[in-house]
Amino acid sequence: MNIEKLLAAKRSEAVKLWFEHVIRTYPADSSRFLLNVKDQFSNPVGATTIKCLEDVFDAMMAGKTRDELIPLLDPAIRIRAVQEFSPSSSVAFVLHLKTLVRDLLEKEITSGVIDRNGLEQFDRAVDGLCLIAFDIYMGCREQIFKFRAEHVKSRTLKLLEKADILCEVPDVGTEIIPHNVYKNGGFESQ
């Protein structure tokens, strides 16, 4: 019998344990709030995370593809990417699925219902999921770096405009032009 089928039968327990594992990565004083407040608007981190774990769990059990998994895993990683975690702690919770399967299906593993091959295959799928998490995480971080870069770029542009060393060049768009060379000179008659 394959792991996915056995694990799917224990879905609610598995997701609950996985969720608790994720919440334990937050400071102890906040975990009660994140774990227990169910309203999605009062507790977006908790609500988004559990929904994400449920969706990803179901998709993993159904053997969904990478492209199908990305949007499902994105919300939880997106949140962790702006919280005070190191890059590894942002994605490491994915790997906890390996521990989960060993804890929940201990009997089946020792009795040989799940063979070594099956377990290795499952581990590889989890590794794949972790790599997806890493891609999402980097995508989020790159987006944030871009915000910063754009902010500096637009501020510089405005400063140049303010200092009157920037002018509009017809048919070319806005370019940085030395004031004394081109402003009102090279392109338009005075």
């Binding site: 594992h21 334990r24 990565t25 937050y26 400071p27 102890a28 004083d29 906040s30 975990s31 709030f33 994140l34 407040v37 309203d39 999605q40 608007f41 009062s42 507790n43 977006p44 981190v45 988004t48 997106r78 949140i79 702006v82 919280q83 005070e84 590894s88 702690s89 490491a92 790997l95 989020c140 987006q143 944030i144 915000f147 910063r148 902010h151 500096v152 405005k158 303010k162």
Partner: protein
């Protein structure tokens, strides 16, 4: 430190259970705001100008810094009864604990408003209460150490003074005022941030936060007028610094400088032209915002006074203020006792409808959303809301206008008159319960982008809900900081939702006398369905 590959996966997920007083703040890069430059502090005559970084071990505090903080605290406890009450009456019921957007989005316990206030209360107990003096830590007191100053700096700038927590406090403790007092105290020893001090300095010098000089300010507005002429065919010639105008119009300089605020400014100009308002803009009082609010009461008073001085100099009857957030907290809650009453002005009366705005009887200054709502109610505007039909709009109540002045229904009244597709976010996230953008009170700078994004998560999460459910693609607001910071917040959390000011939507819907057929909106984008629209 060498880590073996198999050790890398052994991540300890069990958080340390340390007492909050023993957890030091984190000042690694990206987790602190940049400090004010010495030159800026010198210009403002503020104490202890020096080069320093929060990442440094030694913050170069003045020699007698503990005495300065103690005396400053005492002075403020004597001066503000509210502060004394706020220090004493909290019973730590926890009603505020999970209401702060930074706590909700990040999970750091010191962002629970009760604990953030405790950062100051612990010093208050130690210095000013017998219990604290006798029992120390047992009574929740602690000595003032450099570590405490660092903690204050970290967490008082992780509060946007939005006051959502105070809505839930059964005692009405205004945690934002505790933050304000804490920041005032830090200013006494030169611990302050560049993103606030530079605007304050600019505003003192040129009249606006961005340091736009009078001639540039005029040029910017004239540039808007050129765009308006291209879009509508109507040429507008606003007056500047004109004595004897009936109304002085003041808006945040962000509206003149940064998209999408600029489109909102165009909306104001079109509205005033359309109704023939006798108004003038000032190149000196060219800032509605007041970063003094985030510095000290003295600085807030100084920057606020500038608008009233200009109103007096020009001899106007009253002031209309643009779409700004904290400007209205200053006007509505502090102006009257700082610089008021503005006896030299008249109680605002709409010259178009005759409506008298008694709510502004003392400050003599009304919010443009009130003014426009009154125009619409009296059928003074010709509007074609179908021009905004491609937009599915939801409304973000900006913290200060919503919670500090109760401006809840006027913007919605205007919005519903100029847009056909309006969808509300869930009630626990709007009106008095609105969530902050995450970047208010002078923290809208890029060095702490992660803090801003997680602080804005509760707001974005509610926007995402209406985006998913109703296909909402536009977020409206009446605050210049919102307009500057919500676009990246939306890009990160809810791609596909843009941000607009209220009067941009008004400008698009407004049918002006003598206008040409509109094919472009104020962003110079093709109007869907209009002639020339290549997408149709």
């Amino acid at each position: 430190m060498k880590i073996k590959p198999d050790e890398m996966l052994k991540i300890n997920t069990k958080p340390p259970k340390a007492h909050w007083m023993d957890v030091p703040p984190d000042f690694s890069e990206g987790k602190y705001l940049y400090p004010a430059k010495p030159k800026t502090l010198e210009y403002l005559h503020l104490p202890n100008p020096r080069d320093w970084s929060p990442a440094d071990e030694d913050w170069k505090l003045p020699e007698n810094w503990q005495k300065i903080i103690h005396d400053g605290f005492k002075e403020r406890l004597d001066k503000y009864r509210s502060l004394k009450v706020f220090m004493d009456i909290c019973v730590r019921c926890g009603a505020c604990a999970d209401k702060c957007h930074f706590y909700i989005g990040g999970g750091d316990p010191k962002n629970m408003p009760v604990l953030r206030a405790e950062l100051l209360r612990s010093i208050y107990r130690n210095d000013f209460t017998i219990f604290g003096k006798l029992f120390g830590r047992l009574a929740g007191a602690r000595k003032l150490t450099p570590q405490v100053i660092k903690e204050w700096f970290s967490y008082l700038y992780q509060c946007t003074e939005c006051r959502r927590c105070s809505v839930f406090c059964p005692y009405g403790i205004d945690t934002a005022e505790i933050t304000m007092m804490g920041r005032e105290l830090l200013n006494l020893i030169g611990v302050n941030i560049n993103w606030i001090k530079d605007p304050v300095s600019n505003c003192s010098r040129t009249g606006n936060h961005l340091g736009i000089q009078p001639q540039n300010f005029k040029e910017i507005i004239e540039f808007f007028c050129d765009d308006i002429e291209e879009i509508t065919g109507v040429k507008i010639n606003p007056s500047f610094n004109r004595k004897g105008a009936e109304v002085l119009f003041v808006t945040p300089s962000g509206d003149a400088f940064a998209d999408p605020g600029t489109y909102t400014f165009m909306g104001y100009l079109m509205l005033f032209e359309h109704i023939g308002l006798d108004y003038t803009l000032s190149t000196y009082a060219s800032e509605g915002g007041n970063f003094g609010l985030f510095t000290s009461s003295d600085m807030m008073k100084k920057l606020n006074a500038k608008m009233y001085h200009e109103a007096k100099r020009l001899g106007v009857k009253h002031i209309i203020g643009g779409e700004c957030g904290h400007m209205w907290r200053v006007i509505n809650q502090y102006m009257d006792t700082m610089n008021g009453p503005a006896d030299f002005l008249e109680v605002p009366k709409s010259p178009i409808t005759g409506t008298v705005f008694n709510s502004a009887a003392s400050t003599k200054m009304i919010h443009i959303a009130e003014f426009t709502a009154d125009l619409i109610r009296n059928n003074k505007l010709k509007l074609d809301p179908s021009r905004n039909d491609h937009l599915r709009v939801t409304w973000h109540d900006s913290c200060n206008t919503a919670r500090a002045m109760g401006l809840l229904d006027e913007p919605r009244y205007v919005l519903n008159a100029v847009c056909n597709n309006v969808f509300e976010m869930p009630p626990s996230t709007t009106r008095e319960y609105t969530f902050c953008c995450g970047s208010g009170s002078g923290t809208n700078t890029e060095e702490i982008m992660e803090q801003r994004l997680r602080g804005g998560l509760p707001r974005a999460n509610a926007v995402k809900y209406v985006h998913d459910k109703y296909d909402v693609n536009m977020l409206g607001c009446v605050c210049a900081i919102d307009r500057a910071v919500l676009p990246p917040l939306m890009d990160y959390w809810v791609p596909g939702v843009a941000v607009t000011g209220l009067h941009e939507l008004v400008g698009n819907a407004l049918v002006m006398d003598g206008e040409i057929e509109r094919t472009l909106n104020l962003r110079m984008e093709d109007l869907p369905g209009a002639e020339g629209d290549t997408d149709e």
